[in-house]
Amino acid sequence: MAKIAYRDAVRDAMSEEMTRDSRVFLIGEEVAQYNGAYKCSKGLLDKFGPDRIIDSPISESGFAGLCIGAAMYGLRPIAEFMTFSFSFVAFDQIVNNAAQIRYMSGGQLKVPLVFRGNSGGGHQIGATHSHAPENIYATFPGLKVVVPAFAADAKGLLKSAIRDDNPILVIENEALYGRESEVPDGEYLTPIGKANILQEGTDLTIVTHGRSCWTVLEANQELHKMGIHAEIIDLRSIKPLDWPTVFASVRKTHRLVCVDETKPFCGVSSQVAAEVSRACFDHLDAPVLRVTSVEAPMPFSSALEDECIPNVARIIEAVKEVVA
């Protein structure tokens, strides 16, 4: 086990899979000569050359569609969105083409491709650059959505995604690129659709994913001092979602707080709360609470922005209410 940065785990995943399969290529804005806006493709141009590490002009719809067409023909593209906030420029391609073509072609085609890139708020880059869109894309049958929180999964989920025969969005997070965590030695894959129990506990379940995993773990130190033993689940995969792991935990702890960076209205936590209230109704000893981003565009000022995404104080407040 070595500790590496999340961005290096992303690069290692791409590098290993490109070495393994000549059909895999990477295209995106600044991925080649610039080494990636967030340095996730550092060194890959030198290693694989310009035919496979391709700088695109700023044309999200164009290069997303190019990747879908190439995947229909049998290649296995990786498209990097500098941030998923820009993926909305390519929304038609992702939603009307990538997601639907297998179905509309009656199963004649598959679309094995990965859309990956940065997401999330917290960096004072304003409302247009701070979206956490995993809930939006997860509503479309045909797409899969994964959100790695740690370096091990940044690598393992991306490798699985590249080998998967479906269009998959791998949604990373700017706040995590520089964070180091342990990565297994040698070849491994993180299965898509399998949650990870970060900590076992008895008093309540906290279901979270992405950057919020780190915030929950930070809050957990306070909870521990308060004598509260939380079971913490990192969903890792939003679509498909590992319902058995979530339900089993709630049936054990009888309490649930959902924490994630999507918006409160129709967000990932809304979906978890709805499914748990149906499947675990007789087991719940308290209402399910949600800690999410707030119902407002992302403000610029850090004094405001810090309150807009889940933070330690809001998590602890929700936990206290649920275990009271």
């Binding site: 164009g62 879908i68 085609l109």
Partner: protein
Amino acid sequence: MKKKPLPTGAGVLASTQPLPEYGTVPDLSRDQRLEWYRMMYLTRKFEERSYQSYQTGLIGGFCHLYNGQEAVAAGTFAAITDADPVITAYRDHAHGLMRGIRPGPAFAELYGRATGIVKGKGGSMHYFNVEKQMYGGHGIVGGQTALGLGLAFATKYLGEKKVCFCYMGDGAVNQGTFHESLNLAQLMKIPVIYVIENNMYSMGTSVDRHSAPVELYKRALGYDMLGVRAEGMDFDHVRQVSWTLAERARSENLPAILELMTYRYRGHSMSDPQYYRSKEEVEEYRKHDPVEILRSRILSEATVNEKDLEALEEKVRKEVQEAHDWALASPFPAQSEIYTDIYA
């Protein structure tokens, strides 16, 4: 009378750069020419039958007919091979039939049956036949232009020396994705030919009301790309210019816009009352019918006589009727089909 070779610039009306010289498209054999005529005639009869079926309520949703435009699909397809990928928008019946979809599964798809070419999951707008490199059938105007780019990119990536023909209506030239695709195609040297099927109307909006430059091939100028406008009602003319651009794409990885001037006899979709044009205009265009033009030429070449041609046509009409009957007798999809083919 032996067929004279066409001059390489036959049917070309204008271009942004001088047309490259790749010579004359290789001759088709008598049987090949007859087969392309048969495909055009089949498409015409298939769609006339579809028109009736729509009127009697057998087809739900949209149904965009290609009547009048048959020489565009036939002439371009006859310039390339079935190994070259093609992709189009929702006016896709001709492209499907001419790339191997049998009339039975084609009708069955229109009628929403389990035996449809895409199992009743796509309908009129989403014909696919990947076995013959026909990649749809796409519903969003201009959305397929980026997919065509990707198909062509993949052939180049794999070193196959192929060309992708990507079809679109004249209305699609105003979509942003098309312009992103043009820039990427020229910048990255991708062997894709964008065929603008200019039938003069973007739904009910005529070209002069929807495009600042009415000469649509000139959209290529902004991208240092070759743009060609050519006559689109004559199979042989379409085939010659398509072959030139295809050869150029294969040997130099260069994309192009090919604007083919054509006309659709029917409304945009079946529910279109056509207030935007006169009956006289439609009748005028019907005098230059692409199916008739090829039919007359084949007869003038004296390789086949009127009687044989009529026998061929009779056979096609019978095939269409039988395919229609077969499709109508086919079962609807099982409810369980809702949840299949979503993920691979």
